[in-house]
């Protein structure tokens, strides 16, 4: 194969000094760095790269760009690579796809012969009936689909997405885009310039000396402008509401999604050259003028030996000069402006001759066409604009409906000389910056994170932008013969005529019926020709026919890029490490990892009934409620009464939504006069908190109640079983456990295993004597281990969620969401005893009043199959004949009763003890079951949970010094990066954290010296953070022992409702610092962390890696490093390890390192 490589070209992008080798269908090919795969193959004389989609016709190079439909190839394990765009790299194995068995001998090419059967709508017409053959059709169709091979071993390339906040985003790095970007940056805007190709410059790159000199100037100016970030080999995928712009950044097939929130978008994609429709227009050797010019000027490849040029414009004229310089014999110039035309390309497998309108036939292996341009209006369409067809210019142009935030430059805006286009783009860039900076100033003026007044934007008036003219261009779409319109989908102009005749005369219908514009090129090459041919077929005009809608995404993007890194938050209990050591089988419930069981749930349940067991119930929601109006609030939220709950007492409560449906349940204890601790279900914790806030903020703002979630501030352990009192008695120091001192449904606080501030509840979900211990979370593991150690002789064993489910079902306790559903109102849950309709008002009361009156709805009942060995699966139906009258909501084999027990929802008339019903099992068997007297199958009288034992309590054992543990352990993922360390993470979880609530803008805020949105250091070096409206967090070193008292004294302001809660154990806290700290965060955080939006001292709450996280910017003034940026982050303790792992993952490319404990400057000055 002879080389088609030319001598050095002025603007070539290849590095001739070096060569690289790769393979093409198994053969060796050499290339130079800078070559695309296809330019290297073309230089080696290759002309055919693929077979077409439907007819399997050989296809060559058409556009020599990303959108080239015939050069989509397989590269190693990666299918569908745009090989006229992808750079050649050493060692890759490139092969053609959609060919079988080989490119040269393609069996499916038989479709060319039977082409008449593949008429438009072929798939719809053929593969419809009979339905039973659909699986067969699918297999047939799959053989003919585009697509290469995906290897099961292909690595998962899931990059982090990143968030960006440019003032101006310029889509397109041609001369207009570059000029607009420069103008915007010089006006003070932060600019992101997105270029699809590997170099800036657009068509200047294949121009002559003048263009190349101009290009060099523009590139130098961009390089010298720090306000411009250039993304090469990247594409804007779509523009969404709020100027939310999706960009894909590529690097050798590895893709990363950039989510940009741009002030303004400048759309400068240039124009796409349009193919001409005539017979044989898809033969290899027929190409666009821009393709020939790219090959010659960028890659120094001679595109053929003997050429015919069909030209209708200056670019067509310019290609003649290029071809001649490249040594191509230009046999004939066919000038469409003089009415000359090409009617047919002849050849088998490649072009041999061109037939002209005058009947002459010219031998040639290259036919270059320059018949006009398509304006890619996708991004302006997505901004709401409808393009307008201008016949004089033979193209669609943007209409006049662009929003303020979108501007247009370059060929999309109009025509002109290079100077005129750049002059226009300069004005556009300046105006884009003006609008973006005004937008930015408005945003800054409302941010609480800033100090002082927002910077005044330069009050420049809108600069008038003189519209660009549109040059005349002949309307050339289809010639005198029929040819291919959609090269990706193999749709011909004859197909469109046929479809129009069949009635598909609207362009949107035609598109779906013929699949024209629906292939990989997505209309960029073929939309206007499709519209024109349809207009021709229906006897209308292009303007009347209209165009199809250009939807996102603009170019294909991998699913890996869209998915990004998998970051599903998981929450861990402080005892998780112990569960793993004990061999717990994990269960993910909500976001929590919980022990399902430790090997034998039945034995675990027996241990609880016979001796004692301990279960980690940390996920139970816990809300600290303070204030004089808490009892009123509880009366409003719960269906039962709360006014008379005494200090030290606990009560069970049920919450309903306003539709009367059971929404959550739990116990609430009164710890002090105005101080309560509410527990919620694990899954309901977040919703209940929001529900409480909703009532307090919107319906009862006059009530004085402060709510603080403490779910993970405490490690919660339920100690259950007849010997639980003995076990707890060995660890508790200052709480009298005697039945008459600490009875059922009471709460005490005390010191447990050397840990102060523990809350003990005597409650009994399992139906046994039990104590629920809430331990400051950092000591949770210590207490857990102490319980196991000191209960060994009692036979203590840990039990998991499954054993708890068995035990609670034996006891007949329902679970919201398991035994109730989204329609279960309180009376249907068997809560008649709890609902107090004599209260004036509570959430859901009206519906419950009406439910009580009507008596409607099903009832929750205890149910036992008559044959106790049958355990009906949950959700089994209860039927009378064929009528469904209920369902089994929970079922287990009871280890205590050695028979099956259930809870069921049953129609009210049947919900009578002793009624026999029929349960329909999934296998079709019908088994009888009987409604029981109580929900409780075991101990309905409740003797066990009040059980008193004669065993002596105490004495208190020595448990050693309590070890405080951080929620941040060593990273769970190995951090192995060769990159230099540009970011570090330091664990700050040990800091004292004091949470203050008081009126926003009141005396407490003044005393603390800071308002919402900012952080400041107090006179002792503690960091005082304005963490919310009327909410502060004070962070102090543990060595600052007086910090909590100091804060309490400071906020002791008369006449203001204030509460102070210790959150030291409730938050995982870290600091990320270093020159790239903000770049690490930009991958997982949508907030603009630049100096003006988030200056030093800014405090905000947002979502980081999908976890609600507080962020405080605390820069570190250091002598050895210039102004190191740093951010203190804190989140719920249970999410801390996940957040740390996510940051370490995001920071890998910056060599991020983790310090488990800082020695100095934990709270940087």
């Amino acid at each position: 194969m002879t080389s088609h490589r030319l001598t050095r070209q002025q603007g070539e992008v290849i590095d001739r000094a070096r060569t690289i080798a790769f393979t093409w269908n198994g053969r060796n090919v050499t290339a130079h760095p800078g070559d695309t795969i296809v330019s290297a193959l073309a230089a080696a004389g290759e002309r055919v790269f693929s077979r077409s989609f439907k007819y399997h016709r050989p296809r060559g190079l058409l556009t020599a760009s990303y959108h080239d439909p015939g050069t989509i190839l397989q590269v190693d394990d990666e299918p569908n690579v745009r090989a006229a765009h992808r750079l050649a790299t050493p060692g890759i194995a490139v092969s053609s796809q959609n060919t079988w068995p080989s490119l040269k001998l393609d069996v499916k090419a038989v479709n060319q012969v039977v082409g008449r059967f593949l008429a438009p709508g072929f798939y719809y017409k053929t593969f419809i009936q009979p339905e039973r053959l659909w699986p067969v059709y699918e297999k047939v169709l799959a053989r003919f689909a585009h697509a290469g091979r995906i290897s099961g071993n292909a690595p998962h390339l899931q990059s982090h997405k990143r968030f960006a906040h440019p003032d101006v985003l310029v889509a397109g790095g041609g001369p207009a885009g570059i000029t607009a970007a420069l103008a915007a940056a010089r006006a003070g805007a932060r600019v992101m310039l997105v270029e699809e190709e590997h170099q800036l410059g657009g068509h200047l790159r294949w121009g002559g000396s003048a263009e190349l000199a101009r290009l060099a100037e523009l590139r130098a100016a961009v390089a010298a402008e720090p306000g411009i970030e250039v993304l090469f080999d990247s594409a804007v995928l779509g523009r969404y509401d709020g100027n939310w712009i999706a960009v894909v950044e590529r690097e050798h097939g590895h893709e990363r999604l950039v989510k940009a929130r741009a002030g303004t978008l400048v759309v400068a994609p240039g124009l796409i050259e349009r193919p001409y429709v005539f017979a044989g227009n898809d033969l290899p050797g027929v190409m666009l003028s821009t393709a020939a010019r790219r090959l010659i000027n960028l890659y120094a490849v001679r595109p053929g030996d003997r050429a015919v040029v069909l030209t209708a414009n200056a670019d067509g004229d310019a290609v003649v000069a290029d071809l001649r310089r490249a040594g191509v014999d230009v046999a004939r110039i066919v000038d469409a402006r003089r009415g000359e035309d090409v009617v047919r390309a002849h050849g088998r497998g490649r072009l041999r001759a061109v037939e002209l309108a005058d009947g002459r036939r010219i031998e040639a292996d290259l036919l270059v066409t320059a018949t006009g341009w398509t304006a890619p209006t996708a991004l302006v369409n997505q901004a709401g604009d409808r393009p307008v067809y201008v016949p004089r210019a033979a193209r669609f142009v943007p209409g006049r409906d662009l929003p303020e935030s979108v501007l247009v430059a370059g060929g999309l805006a109009g025509d002109g000389s290079l100077d005129e286009l750049c002059g226009h783009a300069d004005a556009v860039g300046g105006e884009a910056a003006r609008r973006a900076l005004a937008h930015r100033a408005r945003k800054l003026s409302v941010l609480p994170t800033r100090t002082g007044p927002a910077p005044e934007p330069a009050q420049r008036d809108a600069s008038p932008i003189a519209a660009l003219p549109l040059d005349e261009h002949p309307e050339l779409f289809r010639g005198r013969t029929h040819g291919i319109v959609d090269f990706s989908e193999d749709v011909s102009s004859a197909d469109i005529f046929t479809a129009a005749k069949e009635g598909y005369d609207s362009v949107e219908l035609l598109k779906r019926y013929t699949t024209a514009t629906m292939g990989p090129a997505q209309g960029k090459l073929e939309t206007v020709n499709t519209v024109e041919v349809l207009a021709e077929a229906t006897g209308s005009t292009i303007a009347e026919t209209g165009t199809t809608t250009w939807r996102p995404v603009h170019v294909p993007v991998t699913l890996g890029a869209l998915a990004g890194r998998i970051s599903e938050p998981v929450r861990r209990s402080p005892m998780q490490a112990a569960h793993e050591r004990l061999g717990a089988r994990p269960l993910v419930a909500g976001q929590w990892i919980r022990p399902d069981h430790y090997g034998d749930p039945v034995a675990e349940a027996r241990a609880v009934r016979e001796s004692v067991g301990i279960i980690d119930v940390t996920p139970i929601g816990k809300l600290d409620l303070r204030g004089p109006d808490v009892a009123q609030l509880l009366n409003l939220l719960y269906v039962n009464k709360w006014s008379k709950l005494a200090v030290g007492r606990v009560r069970y409560g049920v919450m309903c939504a306003e539709d009367g449906v059971v929404f959550d349940d739990g116990v609430t204890g009164r710890l002090g006069e105005d101080h309560y601790l509410m527990s919620t279900t694990s899954s309901g914790a977040a919703a209940v908190w929001e529900w409480v806030e909703n009532w307090l903020q919107t319906e009862r703002p006059q009530w004085k109640v402060h709510v603080t979630p403490l779910t993970t501030a405490y490690a919660s352990i339920n100690v259950a079983g007849p010997r639980s009192r003995e076990l707890v008695g060995r660890l508790v120091e200052d709480v009298d456990l005697a039945e008459d001192a600490f009875g059922y449904m009471n709460v005490r606080t005390g010191r447990l295993a050397g840990v102060d501030g523990c809350v003990l509840w005597r409650i009994g979900f399992t139906g046994e004597l039990s104590y629920e211990l809430h331990v400051p979370a950092g000591y949770g593991l210590h207490v857990w281990e102490a319980l196991l150690e000191h209960g060994a002789d009692l036979g203590v064993r840990p039990f998991g969620v499954e054993a708890q489910r068995i035990l609670r079902l034996e006891k007949g306790h329902f679970i919201v969401g398991q035994d109730t559903d989204g329609l279960t109102r309180a009376f249907s849950a068997g809560l008649d005893w709890a609902v107090k309709l004599d209260k004036d008002d509570f959430a859901g009361r009206p519906e419950l009043v009406w439910q009580e009156k009507s008596g409607g709805g099903p009832r929750l009942v205890g149910l036992q199959p008559v044959d106790g060995s049958v355990v009906p699966p949950e959700a089994s139906q209860i039927v009378i004949d064929e009528r469904i009258v209920g369902r089994v909501t929970s079922s287990r084999m009871s280890p205590t009763l050695r028979r099956s027990v259930c809870l069921a929802q049953l129609d009210a008339p049947l919900a009578v003890p002793g009624t026999e019903v029929t349960v329909l099992l999934p296998d079709g068997r019908r088994v009888p079951a009987r409604v029981t007297e109580h929900h409780a199958h075991v101990d309905p009288e409740g003797n066990r949970l009040r059980g008193t034992s004669d065993e002596p309590v105490g004495p208190v054992r020595e448990t050693g010094t309590a070890t405080l543990r951080s929620p941040l352990e060593a990273p769970t993922r190995a951090v192995g990066s060769a990159a230099p360390c540009e970011a570090t993470v330091t664990d700050l979880s040990h800091l004292t954290k004091v949470h203050v609530r008081a009126p926003h803008g009141g005396a407490v805020g003044a005393a603390l010296g800071i308002a919402f949105g900012r952080a400041v250091r107090d006179e002792h070096g503690a960091l005082v953070v304005g963490s919310g409206p009327g909410e502060w967090l004070v962070l102090a070193e543990p060595t600052d022992v007086g910090a909590a008292e100091r804060v309490a004294a400071k906020v002791d302001v008369p006449d203001e409702f204030v509460s102070v809660v210790d959150l030291t154990h409730g938050r995982a806290m870290l600091r990320i610092a270093g020159p790239r700290a903000a770049d690490v965060l930009a991958k997982v955080c949508a907030i603009d962390l630049s100096d003006d939006v988030t200056p030093d001292g800014a405090a905000l709450r947002t979502s980081i890696a999908k976890v609600v996280t507080d962020l405080v910017r605390t820069d570190l003034a250091r002598t050895d490093l210039p102004g190191e940026r740093g951010f203190v982050l804190h989140c719920e303790r249970s999410s801390g390890q996940y957040l740390l792992d996510a940051l370490l993952d995001a920071g890998e490319e910056f060599g991020i390192q983790f310090d488990s404990r800082s020695d100095d400057g934990a709270l940087p000055e």
Partner: protein
């Protein structure tokens, strides 16, 4: 993703918020008829044009607030 103007935090991506509902007023539970109560619970205007809505800033200040939104264009502005 559109931005919502949180009156406390400034503009933030809508994914930080939870939509609470149209700005309906809770009827007096003592006197409301089932029709009134259920209209409050279930019937929504879903109007085209500018509407007032309640939102909750879940991943931010955790304040409930009202805003105005143009339901066709998704433009938003602070409630007046």
């Amino acid at each position: 993703m559109i931005e919502l103007p949180c009156p406390w935090c400034g503009p933030r991506g809508v994914s930080e918020f939870r939509y609470v509902g149209e700005g309906a007023t809770r009827p007096d539970p003592a006197t409301a008829t089932p029709q009134e109560w259920r209209a409050y619970l279930y019937l929504h205007e879903n109007a085209r044009g500018w509407v007032r809505e309640n939102w909750y800033h879940t991943a931010g200040c955790r304040r409930f607030f009202k805003l105005e939104r143009e339901t066709e264009s998704n433009e938003t502005r602070a409630a007046t």
